[in-house]
Symmetry: C2
Subunit: 343 residues, 2 copies
């Protein structure tokens, strides 16, 4: 099995650590390896770097390559422009086939997985399901009525492994998310897919004529950049999974988090009294619930709570934790004020 | 007239900007010249650097000298150890006399003065009072029931300039400070004194036998460090002013502030919407009342108020503004934890 790591996202929510040329997946948010390094390391027992393809954009390729010295250079695929996930997964399908692979797992590059052994076990189960012809999406057991994710409603159990997918519910309103959570059967779609290359290609042919034309041109020897525009700029979820038959989900539970914002990171890291973060030493008096990311300094906290404090080489962010997801508005303000070099 | 600038204080309340070897007077707290540079510059129209003596301790002498290139090296007086203000003022008295001066003003090195012309005018008036034989202390019109300062209770006006001092009230309890403020006649003692060298010396002889013995040994050619211990380790206020006759005060009003803490600095600097400080550029959303000192970075504030945020090369402080005077407790904690290099 090959692994295809999608590393094109920008991750503005981790500004000022994430920057235009330094996306979230390149950050060591927990003080250990970066998210993309961890993504590859946790595959290692089963999938060596030779069978890992990483897809990213031209802005970020240098940063990504620098982080992954073990990745063969020809396994870093640089898409000419961001066109959502369907085109790059179609391209990856062709690249895997070209290298002799017959199936692959698609993984985001910027998520956290707490239980790596359970994760690898899930991949092995999903690989067996894919072997039998299914388009498999891993289904995360939900813990909250999250409106920012896609949800999977499974059908009834049958005699095969995993569950058939009845339908996808993309980013539901809160009332719907609450109902889906209460029903107890629905799962989160975390963008982790496993399929055979031939099964995926058949579905591309059926549902994504543009991507199919793109692949045919590639096979004829066309330059990537010249035929990239033939593809549908859509997600693989919408473009294929919501339309195809044989889509199945494997319910999994391996301590997954999308690490989607500073407050989410705060909860993943151990509480050190004053809060959590990546900072050492910290001296605190009457401080609690803060997230501090300041690896290069002594940090002193005095009588403050529920703040996000992020110190980078040229930017210092101090935010109320409940509003940290509004950093996008700060980035917009930077651009309005001609301070785009900080964004 | 000579000026004697007392620059021995450490100013822990401006930690982490003020450090053991970088005291408050060496800081550019308002983004302009440092406090000690400003102290000397505002004298310049009347008192050239040749007639300015600066007294400091051995730890800080290098930092002070680096800030005052215009000061003749022999005008930087390094006291062997801190023994409060009486010994160093006695020494300064002798140094001024030795250079042919007949009177001097004593000034702290770490205060803010908003109206420099009014300040110089006050010095000229005080100089005339000293010429007539008075020990003069400038009296600041109080604006709040401050318990951290010494207060001056003047006597009735007489036919001379200024007012006689009836008594000093050192750091009164709040109820007393409130009464002194309400009475409307009392003034703050800001440590700014003007006197003739011969009048001061006579009072040293009367009230500070140890300091007098020290000066006599100096005159006989003793090495400073060997006779420094003869002095009384006391303040000139307590050692002389509270006992002497002929003590007068000149009520003044020149926008004085002791710049005693981060919140006091916050009020001296113009409000920029999100608060005040030394930082550029700042991008803020729903922020107010903050003090930010981060001259080397872009600062982003999001939904925060009444914080003190100070970014130095190796320390980041984030404090509730109402508790910023407790930074001393942080320094103590640093020392307990073996992190004294940050203090």
């Amino acid at each position: 099995m090959y692994a295809v790591i999608l590393a094109g996202g920008r991750g503005t929510r981790f500004w000022p650590l994430s920057r235009r040329n330094l996306p979230k997946q390149c950050l060591a948010l927990d003080g250990g390896p970066t998210l993309i390094q961890a993504t590859i390391q946790r595959l290692l027992p089963d999938i060596p770097p030779e069978r890992v393809l990483v897809i990213t954009g031209p802005d970020m390729a240098t940063a990504i390559a620098a982080q992954l010295p073990q990745l063969p250079p020809e396994n870093l695929l640089v898409e000419p422009s961001g066109r959502n996930t369907a085109p790059c997964i179609a391209w990856a399908c062709w690249e895997v086939q070209r290298r002799g692979g017959d199936r692959f797992v698609v993984l985001p590059s910027d998520h956290h997985i707490g239980n790596e052994a359970a994760f690898r076990q899930a991949l092995r189960e999903a690989s067996a399901m894919a072997e039998a012809g299914a388009l498999v999406t891993l289904g995360i057991r939900p813990t909250r009525p999250e409106t920012g994710f896609g949800w999977i409603e499974p059908g009834d159990s049958d005699d095969q492994h995993g569950l058939p997918v009845r339908r996808f519910v993309e980013k539901p309103p809160l009332a719907v998310a609450e109902r889906l959570l209460a029903e107890g059967r629905c799962l989160w779609n975390a963008g982790m897919f496993v399929w055979r290359t031939d099964v995926l290609r058949k579905n591309i042919r059926s549902f994504l004529g543009g991507c199919e034309a793109f692949l045919e041109k590639l096979e004829e020897g066309a330059a990537l950049a010249e035929v990239w525009g033939l593809t549908e700029a859509t997600s693989v979820d919408y473009g294929i999974l919501e339309r195809a038959t044989g889509v199945r989900t494997l319910p999994v539970d391996f301590g997954w988090s999308d690490v989607g914002s500073w407050p989410v990171l705060a909860e993943l890291l151990p509480d050190r009294g004053w809060g959590s973060g990546v900072a050492e030493p910290v001296v605190a008096l009457d401080a609690r619930g803060n997230l501090v990311y300041a690896p290069a300094k002594l940090v002193a906290l005095l009588g403050v709570e529920d703040l996000v404090v992020v110190d980078s080489a040229d930017v210092l962010l101090v935010a109320d934790k409940g509003r940290a997801q509004e950093v996008r508005a700060i980035i917009e303000e930077l651009e309005r004020r001609g301070l785009g070099r900080y964004s």
